[in-house]
Each structure stands twice: as structure tokens, then as C-alpha cells.
């Protein structure tokens, strides 16, 4: 799945990746896919939790070719 935008939050400590996600997602069209790269250990559970709290769609987690953790979020509204 190719994201519309990639947000590099590697090296950022929680809650910065989630804050960055919250700032960036409204900039995408509804239906748009944002990929957040985050190696903060809390990101794996906090990004899905944020999606649930904000009614956005958590699409899934993966790794980039370089092995960085990636989290895909689709804007629902």
C-alpha cells in the first residue's frame, strides 16, 4: 500500500509521534493514507489508541525496507 504522505518521527520520544500525527492528518484529503515512521516503543499501541479516540482508521503496522517501524492511518473525516 503506497501512502499519500510519510511522516518521519524516527528518534522522537512519546508523545511526539502521536502529536505529529494529530497535526499532519487533517492536511490529507478524507480517505488519504498517512504513514508514520516511529521507533518510540509506545507508538505501536498509542497510534492505534489515538485512532480509536479520534475516530480515524488504523490500517496497520509494517516495517520499511530499512527496518523502521511504520504505522498507516487513513483519514476518515
Amino acid at each position: 500500500m503506497t501512502p499519500d504522505e510519510v511522516l518521519d518521527c524516527l528518534g522522537q520520544r512519546c508523545p511526539l509521534p502521536v502529536i505529529a500525527l494529530a497535526r499532519a492528518l487533517p492536511g490529507l484529503p478524507v480517505g488519504g493514507l498517512l504513514r508514520v515512521l516511529a521507533d518510540d516503543p509506545a507508538a505501536a499501541s498509542d497510534i492505534p489508541a489515538w485512532c480509536r479516540l479520534r475516530g480515524q482508521e488504523f490500517v496497520g503496522a509494517s516495517r520499511t525496507d530499512e527496518g523502521a517501524p511504520a504505522f498507516d492511518v487513513r483519514r476518515t473525516g
Binding site: C14, P15, V18, D40, P41, A42, S45, D46, A49, L53
Partner: protein, 376 residues
């Protein structure tokens, strides 16, 4: 401005020493240096006191005196309990079933079991922290299971587990059930059906340095080759006195603290925007609550609360020495950053709770403003 007196609200880590425990320590301090293993009268008196302590604790947990042992900490009790049963039951199988929200002491024992070639089956919990009892039953009935573990109530979120159903499933499958009751003992009853029960004295107002390990007769338990150290008589007797006192007061304390936690849950939800109050609102320990504040740095929140005169705990990764978020919050799929855990005790007053609730919203608002996330 004068620094407000500290309100200690972290009983789930350690509760203030109960006056009954202090009295025992003070009375024994001059005499309890004697080695209880010797033949002479002072040693025999110590052993008698140790036996009485074991008897008293046994009566409270519903065990026989000889099934009760005291070890150096709650963590050690978990390590010994899990390791000892897995070793004793190795002919039955190499699988260890456990919930995903066990105390880290149980999870570390599980990791050690895996490292030694064993298998572990982690059983998930729902959003409120209730273990999936059907999955638990299925797992213990799967054959080749040496032991299963289910915490009596979560030390992080307070959700009381369905130990009775887990115990029934274990009985059907003839698998011993290990129950870490550290957060329940002295506060709430633990359902029967466990094969091994563990506890930690300082969580019930006893002194630090005493763990409880109860192993039912007939459970295939293999003690460590080199025996674990026993805590001093003075600490054991104090721990027993504190448990008796806590147990006697448990119903009254429940009636007193449960509404205060209800008030915290309702008020925080009403006065702090974007907060996730975690754990089962009804099926919970009387004295514990945790919540996560969106976009707030947990460490900054704890420091702010400390400056305001509140000692609380957190499941956020930035406040942990492992720099990982609480595995319990992760397992529940709830927000882990900006997390605060509040746990009340015998000395907590309504005024302490009200002051905490008055301070929190402005503190969170200020931290959000400083981070530039107000209205995000």
C-alpha cells in the same frame, strides 16, 4: 508559597507501614536477632512466633499453616512460585499459560522458561483489562500444560479477574493455577481454587522485605536447589500483624475508598479534556485508578504533580526505567502516554482526593499549552 504537605497516593507500589506492624517491630527489635534454628529457649520462642505468623496468614488466605512460606519479596514469591511449579510439573508438559497482564515478575519467569526451551501461551485481555476466560480455558485444556497463571486483580488498572472461572478450567484440565494476589490481599477476597498464591507484604501495610508464597499440598512444586533466604522474624511477624489488621478493616476501607475512586473517575473525565480513564469501572479493586492524558508527557505530568504535593505512579514509557510503556496498557490497547496511576490507602483523606482533582485539570492544561497542543 509554602510547599503543600505531600499526599502519598501510590499504595499499589507500597502502602504506609500499618501501626500494628510498627508495634511488632518495635517490640521485637531488641530480641529478634536470635537465630531461630538453634535449640535454646530464645530460638524456640522465635520459631513459635514464626509459626503463629504463618498460622494467622494461613487462616486469612484459606490455607493450612504448613502451606505458607515467607520469602524476601513479592517479586521473589512470583519467581519461586512459577519456576517451582514448572519444574515440578515438567513430566506433565512444558507449556506455561498466563494472561498478558501479569506482573512483570511472572512475565520474567515466563521468559526464563522460554529461554530454557519451554513454551508460553499468553492469553489476551479486552479493552477493560478482563482476561479472555474462554481463551484461557482453551489454552489450559490444550494438553502438555505444566501450569497457568492469572493475576487476581491488575496492579496497573485495578480490573478484578475472573479467577473462579480460570480455576474451574484449570481443575478440569488438572493444571495448577498460580494466582498473584499482591493487589488483592488485605483489600479484597481472593476466590478459592488456586494452587499457588503469592503476595507482597508492603502492599498491605506490612514492611518491605516480606513476600508470601502459599503452595497447596499435593501441588508438584520443586523448590530451588539452593533454598531461598527467609526474611527476619521481626519482619514476618510485622507482616502478619499488618495483614490481620488490613483484613479486619477491608470491608470498611472498601466502603470508604470505592466512592473516592468513583469520584476520581467521574471528575477527571469531566474536567480534563481528551483523557482515557482505563480499566473496568465496576469490577475493580476499591482503591486504584489509572488514566491517560492525550498529548501529555508522562514524566512532565509526574513532576508537576510531585511539585504540587502528590506522589503517584505512571505506566508511561518515559517514566519507566525500561523506557517501554506498561505492558498492561499495551495489552489493553489503551493510550499509554500521559498516564497517571493513583492508589489510595488507609491514611488517604477525602481532602487529599479533592485537592488532587482540583490541581489536575490546570496542570494538564498548562503542560498542553507548553507543548503547543492546546485544541489539537
Amino acid at each position: 508559597m509554602a510547599q503543600p504537605a505531600l499526599a502519598y497516593l501510590d499504595a499499589a507500589s507500597a502502602a504506609p507501614l500499618h501501626p500494628a506492624a510498627r508495634t511488632v517491630i518495635e517490640s521485637l527489635l531488641g530480641d529478634a536477632w536470635v537465630d531461630p534454628a538453634k535449640l535454646y529457649a530464645p530460638a524456640r520462642r522465635e520459631r513459635l512466633l514464626l509459626d503463629r505468623s504463618r498460622e494467622a496468614v494461613a487462616a486469612i488466605v484459606g490455607a493450612r499453616t504448613e502451606e505458607v512460606a515467607f520469602v524476601a519479596s513479592g517479586t521473589e514469591a512470583c519467581h519461586l512460585g512459577v519456576t517451582g511449579v514448572l519444574a515440578g510439573r515438567r513430566r506433565a508438559g512444558g507449556t506455561f499459560v498466563h494472561s498478558t497482564i501479569e506482573h512483570s515478575a511472572v512475565l520474567h519467569a515466563a521468559q526464563a522458561h522460554e529461554a530454557a526451551g519451554g513454551t508460553t501461551v499468553p492469553v489476551p485481555v479486552d479493552r477493560l483489562g478482563n482476561v479472555d476466560v474462554e481463551a484461557f480455558a482453551k489454552a489450559v485444556g490444550g494438553g502438555g500444560v505444566a501450569a497457568a497463571a492469572l493475576i487476581s486483580a491488575s496492579h496497573e488498572v485495578g480490573t478484578v479477574q475472573d479467577v473462579a472461572s480460570a480455576a474451574a478450567a484449570c481443575a478440569d484440565a488438572r493444571v495448577p493455577l498460580i494466582v498473584d494476589a499482591a493487589q488483592s490481599l488485605g483489600h479484597a477476597d481472593v476466590p478459592a481454587g488456586w494452587s499457588v498464591l503469592t503476595g507482597s507484604a508492603r502492599k498491605w501495610g506490612g514492611p518491605a522485605g516480606v513476600g508470601l508464597l502459599v503452595v497447596r499440598s499435593g501441588v508438584r512444586y520443586e523448590p530451588p536447589r539452593l533454598p531461598a533466604a527467609e526474611p527476619s522474624l521481626m519482619l514476618v511477624a510485622a507482616a502478619a500483624a499488618a495483614l490481620i489488621a488490613a483484613h479486619d478493616a477491608a470491608a470498611a476501607e472498601d466502603a470508604r475508598l470505592r466512592p473516592l475512586v468513583d469520584r476520581i473517575r467521574a471528575t477527571v473525565a469531566a474536567t480534563v479534556p481528551d483523557v482515557e480513564i482505563v480499566g473496568d469501572a465496576e469490577k475493580r479493586l476499591p482503591h486504584l485508578v489509572t488514566f491517560s492524558c492525550l498529548y501529555v508527557d508522562g514524566e512532565a505530568l509526574l513532576h508537576g504533580l510531585d511539585r504540587a504535593g502528590f506522589a503517584v505512579s505512571s505506566g508511561s514509557s518515559c517514566t519507566s526505567d525500561t523506557l517501554r510503556p506498561s505492558h498492561v496498557l499495551e495489552a489493553m490497547g489503551v493510550l499509554s502516554h500521559g498516564n497517571v496511576r493513583v492508589s489510595l490507602h488507609r491514611e488517604t483523606t477525602e481532602a487529599d482526593v479533592d485537592r488532587f482533582l482540583a490541581v489536575l485539570p490546570d496542570l494538564v492544561a498548562r503542560l498542553r499549552e507548553e507543548a503547543g497542543v492546546t485544541g489539537l
